[in-house]
C-alpha cells in the first residue's frame, strides 16, 4: 500500500497565493503516482484551525505524512504535536529556528529553508561592496530572525535598523528615514503585500539607494504587481526559473502548461517536497518508520534547485543564488547573477541532537 499525505495549507483569504503555489507544485510532482494519496485542507491562516486540521489528519484520515504549512506560526502550532505522534512532517515553506535547533525532531524534514538562510547568504554576498546598510523588517519573530541572519554574516556597518508594524501599508516615514540616513544600501524583508507597497512607494520617492532582500519580496507571484519599480533589485533564493540544472526547465514548462502561470519559489518548494516524498515512497514502506525516515534522509531526488541534501538536523544543505529583477519583454522576473552561498546550511543544527 502507498503513502497517505495530509496537506494543510492556506487556500482562502489574502494569503492564499502561497498555499496554492505550494499545493500546485506538490500535486504536479506526485501526479500519476499511485503510491501517493493526498488529502488537502484549508487552514485559513489561523493557527487554531491548523491544529484542528492536524488532529483530523491524524485521527480521522490516518495519514502517514503531513506537509503544506506556509507560515512559521502555524508550523510552530502543528509540527511538534504531529511529529510527537509519530507522523512525518515535510516542510515545503517556513523554517522557524526553534525547529532547527533544540526543537528538531527525527520525523521533521525541512525541504525549503531555515528562516535565516536567504538573509545569511545575502549578508555574505553583500559584504564588502554594500557599505552601510539600512535594515527594515516587520516586528515579529520571522522578521527578527531574518534580520539576525543578515547581521550574522554581514561584514560592514549597519546604518539603521527599523522594525515596522506587521501588515503596514504606508512606508512614507521609513522612506524619509532612509533618505536622511547615511546608508548606501537598503536591505529589507517585507513579505507579500507589504513588500509590494514598499517597493512602489520607494520607486516614487526619488530615493535611489540600491535595494535588496530575501526572495520573498521579489517572488514571481508578486513581481507582476510591483512592476517596473522592482527592476534592478537584488535578492537571494535557492531557486530561480532560469536555474540551469537538470529537470528545472521541464518543471517550469510543465507548471506553466498545467496552471497557466509561471512557478514561484513556493511552487518549486512544493514540487521538491513532492519529489522527495515520492523518492522515499518508492524505496521504503511508510509503515516501517525507520526505513522510511532513512529513505527521506537520503534525499534521493533531482531537486529543481540542483544539489540538495539534508544536514544532521534535517534541514537543507543547498546553494543560494543572488538574483536580480529584470524585464523580459513585458514580463518582470528574476535572473540569476551569481551564487551567494555554496552548500549553505543553518547555524542552529549545533543545538540539535539528532
Amino acid at each position: 500500500d502507498g503513502v497517505k499525505v495530509g496537506m494543510i495549507t492556506t487556500l482562502s483569504g489574502g494569503g492564499a497565493g502561497l498555499g496554492i503555489d505550494v499545493r500546485d507544485g506538490f500535486l504536479l510532482a506526485v501526479k500519476g503516482n499511485d503510491d501517493i494519496e493526498v488529502v488537502i485542507e484549508d487552514d485559513q491562516r489561523k493557527p487554531d484551525i491548523a491544529v484542528q486540521l492536524a488532529d483530523k489528519m491524524i485521527q480521522s484520515e490516518k495519514v502517514d505524512v503531513m506537509t503544506g504549512i506556509i507560515w512559521s506560526n502555524l508550523a510552530m502550532a502543528v509540527v511538534p504535536a504531529a511529529t510527537a505522534q509519530g507522523k512525518f512532517y515535510l516542510s515545503p515553506n517556513a523554517g522557524p529556528s526553534a525547529l532547527a535547533g533544540k526543537g528538531c525532531h527525527q520525523n521533521y524534514f525541512n525541504v525549503s529553508w531555515q528562516n535565516d538562510a536567504f538573509s545569511e547568504a545575502a549578508g555574505t554576498a553583500l559584504s564588502g561592496e554594500a557599505g552601510k546598510v539600512f535594515l527594515m523588517a516587520p516586528n515579529y519573530p520571522a522578521g527578527q530572525d531574518i534580520m539576525a541572519g543578515f547581521k550574522r554574516t554581514y561584514q560592514g556597518e549597519i546604518a539603521a535598523e527599523v522594525y515596522t508594524k506587521l501588515g503596514q501599508t504606508d512606508y512614507a516615514a521609513e522612506i524619509a528615514q532612509m533618505r536622511a540616513s547615511d546608508a548606501d544600501q537598503i536591505y529589507f524583508f517585507l513579505p507579500g503585500g507589504m513588500g509590494i507597497s514598499f517597493m512602489k512607494q520607494y520607486a516614487g520617492s526619488g530615493v535611489d539607494k540600491p535595494v535588496s532582500g530575501p526572495a520573498f519580496s521579489f517572488d514571481q507571484g508578486i513581481l507582476g504587481a510591483i512592476g517596473d519599480a522592482a527592476v534592478g533589485a537584488k535578492n537571494t533564493a535557492h531557486w530561480s526559473k532560469d536555474l540551469d540544472v537538470p529537470g528545472n526547465a521541464e518543471f517550469v514548462a510543465a507548471f506553466q502548461e498545467e496552471f497557466g502561470r509561471l512557478p514561484s519559489i513556493y511552487a518549486a518548494q512544493g514540487y521538491d517536497t513532492g519529489l522527495l516524498l515520492a523518492s522515499a515512497a518508492a524505496k521504503a514502506d511508510v509503515d516501517d518508520a525507520d526505513a522510511f525516515r532513512a529513505a527521506l534522509k537520503e534525499a534521493d531526488f533531482q531537486s529543481v534547485r540542483g544539489k540538495f541534501s539534508f544536514a544532521a538536523n534535517h534541514h537543507p544543505v543547498q546553494d543560494i543564488y543572488l538574483r536580480e529583477v529584470i524585464k523580459e519583454g513585458d514580463l518582470v522576473t528574476n535572473r540569476i547573477v551569481g551564487t551567494a552561498a555554496t552548500d549553505h546550511s543553518d547555524p542552529y543544527g549545533a543545538d540539535c541532537n539528532l
Binding site: 487556500l11 482562502s12 483569504g13 492564499a16 496554492i20 485542507e41 484549508d42 489561523k46 493557527p47 487554531d48 491544529v51 484542528q52 488532529d55 483530523k56 485521527q59 480521522s60 512559521s72 506560526n73 510552530m76 502550532a77 511538534p80 504535536a81 510527537a84 522557524p96 526553534a98 516586528n139 515579529y140 519573530p141 520571522a142 527578527q144 508594524k165 506587521l166
Partner: protein, 327 residues
C-alpha cells in the same frame, strides 16, 4: 415549529450525542470538533451575558479568551520547563493542573474585565464597540511583539494538562470535562438571567434612565455583568488552549471577538442557548464547507446572510414559535 424549550434541550443534548456516537464508530476527530464547538460556545455564552442581556456589544472579548489561553500557556510552560515564573514579589513554579489554571484564568480575565469595564463603560453604543475593539487590538499587538512567550509564533504545550480523576488525553473524557463546564455555566447563566440582577441588567439595556430612577446604578450593573462575562470567556480561553495544546496571539484578534458575536447572532440574540446553537452550527459549517471548494467562504457567507435576512431571532427564533426574543 417546536416550543423553544424543546429546541434548547435538543440543541444541548446534540453535542454529547454526537460525541458518544463518534466514540462508537471510532471517529476521534468528530469528538475534537464537538469539543471545539463546546468551548467556543462557552466563550460566546460568556459574551452573551454582556451582549444579549446587558446590551454591551463587546468587540474585545477575545482579550479575555486570550488571557485565559495565555494563563494556561504561561503556567504550563513554566511547569514543563521547570523554570519558575518570577512575578516580582513571588516565584511560582507553574502548574499543569487544570483546576488551578482555570482559577487563574478566571481571576486574571475578571480583573482585566474590571479594568477595561471601568474605562469602557463610560461610553455606549457604537463607541463601546470600538473602545473594546481598541483594547483587544492593544493586547493583540502586544502579544505579537512580546518575545517571551513566542510572539507571533505562539507557544506549544505539548501535553494536555491534567484534571484529577480524568484522563484528559482521551478525547471523549476531555470532551466530557468541557461539556460539564459548559452545562454548569449554562445553568448559572440561566439563574442569573431570571434573578433580580438579570431583570435589572436587562432593563438597563432597554432604558438606563428607568433603572436609575428606581435607585440602581446602571454603571455598576453593567460592570458586574461585564466582569462575570469576561471571566467565563477567560475560562473558555484556558480550555481552548488546552484543546489545541497551543496558544498564539490570534486568540486576541478582533476576528475572534467577531466570531463570538457571530455565534450569538446566528443562534439568536437574547437566548440562553443561542450561542450554543450558533457555535455548533458555525463549527459544523466550517467543517463541512471547507472541503467543497477553494472558495468555500462564499458559501459560508451566503448561509450566514440567509440566516440574518430571513431567520429573525436567529436559528432558534426561526425554528421555534417565539420569533425574536427581543429587538
Amino acid at each position: 415549529m417546536l416550543p423553544e424549550r424543546m429546541l434548547n434541550i435538543i440543541a444541548f443534548l446534540a453535542l454529547p450525542l454526537v460525541a458518544v456516537v463518534a466514540v462508537v464508530v471510532d471517529e476521534p476527530f468528530t469528538i475534537t470538533l464537538a469539543t471545539r464547538a463546546a468551548i467556543l460556545a462557552l466563550a460566546a455564552v460568556g459574551l452573551n451575558l454582556a451582549l444579549g442581556l446587558g446590551g454591551l456589544v463587546s468587540l474585545g472579548h477575545a482579550v479575555f479568551f486570550g488571557l485565559g489561553g495565555y494563563a494556561m500557556g504561561i503556567l504550563a510552560s513554566h511547569a514543563q520547563s521547570f523554570t519558575p515564573l518570577d512575578l516580582g514579589f513571588v516565584m511560582f513554579d507553574g502548574t499543569k493542573s487544570m483546576p488551578i489554571i482555570w482559577l487563574v484564568a478566571i481571576l486574571v480575565s475578571a480583573l482585566a474585565a474590571l479594568v477595561i469595564g471601568l474605562l469602557a463603560l463610560r461610553t455606549a453604543g457604537v463607541y463601546f464597540i470600538m473602545i473594546t475593539l481598541a483594547f483587544g487590538q492593544m493586547f493583540y499587538y502586544f502579544t505579537i511583539s512580546w518575545p517571551a512567550y513566542g510572539g507571533e509564533d505562539g507557544l506549544s504545550i505539548y501535553v494536555r494538562n491534567s484534571f484529577p480523576g480524568v484522563n484528559t488525553l482521551d478525547p471523549i473524557q476531555f470532551f466530557g470535562l468541557v461539556f460539564a463546564v459548559l452545562a454548569a455555566v449554562l445553568w448559572l447563566m440561566g439563574r442569573i438571567e431570571t434573578s433580580p440582577f438579570g431583570l435589572a441588567i436587562g432593563a438597563a439595556r432597554q432604558n438606563a434612565v428607568r433603572v436609575e430612577t428606581v435607585g440602581l446604578s446602571p454603571f455598576r450593573l453593567r460592570l458586574v455583568a461585564f466582569v462575570i462575562s469576561g471571566a467565563v470567556t477567560g475560562l473558555a480561553g484556558a480550555l481552548f488552549a488546552d484543546l489545541n495544546r497551543f496558544i498564539s496571539p490570534t486568540m486576541f484578534s478582533w476576528q475572534m471577538s467577531g466570531e463570538f458575536i457571530v455565534f450569538i447572532v446566528l443562534g439568536g440574540i437574547g437566548r440562553l442557548y443561542g450561542p450554543v446553537v450558533g457555535a455548533c452550527l458555525f463549527v459544523l459549517l466550517e467543517h463541512m464547507l471547507s472541503g467543497v471548494s477553494d472558495f468555500w467562504l462564499i458559501y459560508l457567507g451566503a448561509v450566514l446572510l440567509l440566516v440574518v435576512l430571513f431567520a429573525r431571532g436567529g436559528v432558534i427564533g426561526a425554528l421555534s414559535k417565539e420569533g425574536a426574543a427581543h429587538d
